[in-house]
């Protein structure tokens, strides 16, 4: 009796998950379909599948007709995203650990200040920041993304790591101290292995956000040779002249592949939680 009840609830769960999956993935399916449609069909019909498929959008979009092809933009994006993600992980871990596990004068004030930097809308900081980066000579480079990552200027991640560290019992630190480890060793050898899923979240989030960032790259990067995909994608979208939406759709599909692959591949770190890493009592 209990068993059948369980399997019924399991089936309901599955149906729910599958229906939800369809809703979640529908836009992507639609984009793939739209890659094979003409403009008229994209805008004039509702169907997912192209009625009169148009091929060649992927090829044409990939080569582009300007000076640089999509491969350049992809390469540029990696150049920008990988260091940014790497440094974010390091700085967020250090800063998060500092706030979570130590008490020092002004800690509360500093913590609130850190959070407060997220509360002022970016719109009004764009110009002062732009002028500031100009003085540093960083315009048209990826430094406006990489250096803030190095210096922990993504409070979201710092705060996130604080919360994850604080979720871990202090006994872990205590046992490390008893073994004579210094605070860095405690972080590296005892706490970090327990935060794999948190670290993975930092990687995925920062990867996706930097990958998709349009406003900042638009402002800071001016050479076409250095355009990342977010700019490359919109490069032919004009307000008055006609352009092929299917090429935009095709390249949109390609450009979301790296984040999706990263996400899928790195998932095993998610399945491993504290349970499998094992905590010695």
């Amino acid at each position: 009796m209990i068993k059948s009840k369980k399997s019924v609830s399991r089936i309901i769960s599955y149906i729910f998950l599958i229906v939800l999956a369809y809703v979640m993935v529908y836009p992507l399916l639609w984009m793939v379909g739209a890659s094979f449609k003409s403009n008229q069909e994209i805008f004039g019909t509702l169907g997912l599948l192209p009625k009169s498929p148009v091929f060649g959008a992927f090829g044409a979009g990939w080569t582009g007709t300007g000076q640089y092809g999509f491969s350049t933009f992809l390469y540029n994006t990696f150049l920008m995203v990988i260091p940014t993600v790497l440094f974010t992980v390091i700085s967020a871990t250090l800063v998060g650990y500092g706030f979570a596990r130590f008490d020092f004068p002004l800690k509360k004030v500093l913590f609130v200040t850190m959070l407060a930097t997220m509360m002022l809308p970016a719109t009004v900081i764009i110009i002062p920041r732009y002028i500031f980066f100009k003085r540093l000579g960083w315009l048209d480079t990826y430094l406006p993304f990489i250096v803030p990552a190095m210096l922990g200027c993504f409070p979201f991640f710092n705060f996130m790591m604080v919360q994850f560290f604080r979720g871990l019992p202090l006994e872990i630190d205590e046992s490390g101290k008893l073994d004579g480890c210094n605070s860095f060793v405690i972080l590296k050898d005892l706490l970090l292995p327990l935060c794999k899923s948190a670290i993975f979240s930092v990687i995925v989030f920062q990867f996706v956000w930097t990958w998709n960032d349009f406003m900042n790259v638009l402002i800071y990067i001016s050479s076409v040779a250095k355009y990342p995909v977010a700019l490359g994608l919109r490069m032919t979208m004009d307000i008055s002249t006609e352009f092929d939406w299917n090429q935009i759709m095709a390249m949109s599909v390609i450009s979301i592949l790296p984040p999706v692959i990263l996400f899928f591949a790195a998932q095993k770190y998610f399945v491993e939680g504290i349970a499998t890493t094992g905590m010695k009592n």
């Binding site: 130590f102 004068p105 919360q163 605070s183 998932q267 998610f270 905590m279």
Partner: protein, 300 residues
Amino acid sequence: MKKGNEMLTRKRYTYIGYLYILPWIIGFLVLQLAPLINSFWYSFTNFQLLGDPKFLGLDNYKKIFTNDPTFLQSLKVTSYYVLIAVPLKLGFALLIAIILNQNIKGINFFRTLYYIPSILGGSVAISVLWKYLFMNQGIVNNLLSVVGIPATDWLGDPRYALGTISLVTVWQFGSSMLLFLAGLKQIPVSQYEAARIDGAGRLRIFAQITIPELSPIILFNLIMQMINAFQDFTSAFVITQGGPLKSTYLYGLMLYDQGFKFFKMGYSSALSWILFVIILFFTSLTFRSSESWVHYGDSL
């Protein structure tokens, strides 16, 4: 044991903490402080992007509070947006995370699919698609007509547009879901086992173990989603552009228009600092309340 912890970490300052947060301190002083001060100064001027700003004293603020109907409209729209989108998104994210935390076949597959909307973000394709889903002759109305619900202008009717825009936000619940999942993985299995031995039912386990253990992450998600929602305008920007009848004219959209459409950067800065104070107020409130419901592993 309890006392011992407090002795060790609460009472004695450990200056080495500064060393860990040093990157951020430098980053804040070097990269963030100057632009903040700048924008604060601009809020008292008529800064127009070009030319020298002229000091206006409190004029910008005075105008905002006494003579700007758009400000009130935006504030209203934004409050509704925060109230609808944040709880729905977090509730949904938590529900899905808990379902996905069970041993379900193909879980990696589902997780990836559910995260896809968050990857798509404000993609150019999405803005087009949402219109086609929710327009008068759109897919949603087609589906609803099957069950006899008459066609509705989900994005064109001022009564429904904000709700529809909020749906886009809820639909991108992937990031919150991921954090909940990560938090769930941190809960020691031993605790569940102990509760089960005590004969606790599913609901009790959820209320007495899952929620308290997850509370630091719930707090984090709540605060971050709130901060974001107050400033967010991507969906409204690309889908409705604030319309119809300013029913989706979110605060962030107004800031953008004032700053980059009308060049009133000084005015826009003043508006921003008002929003800053509002967000700060609600964040502090949440933090204050968290003392009674957030449970940290380090304060066991």
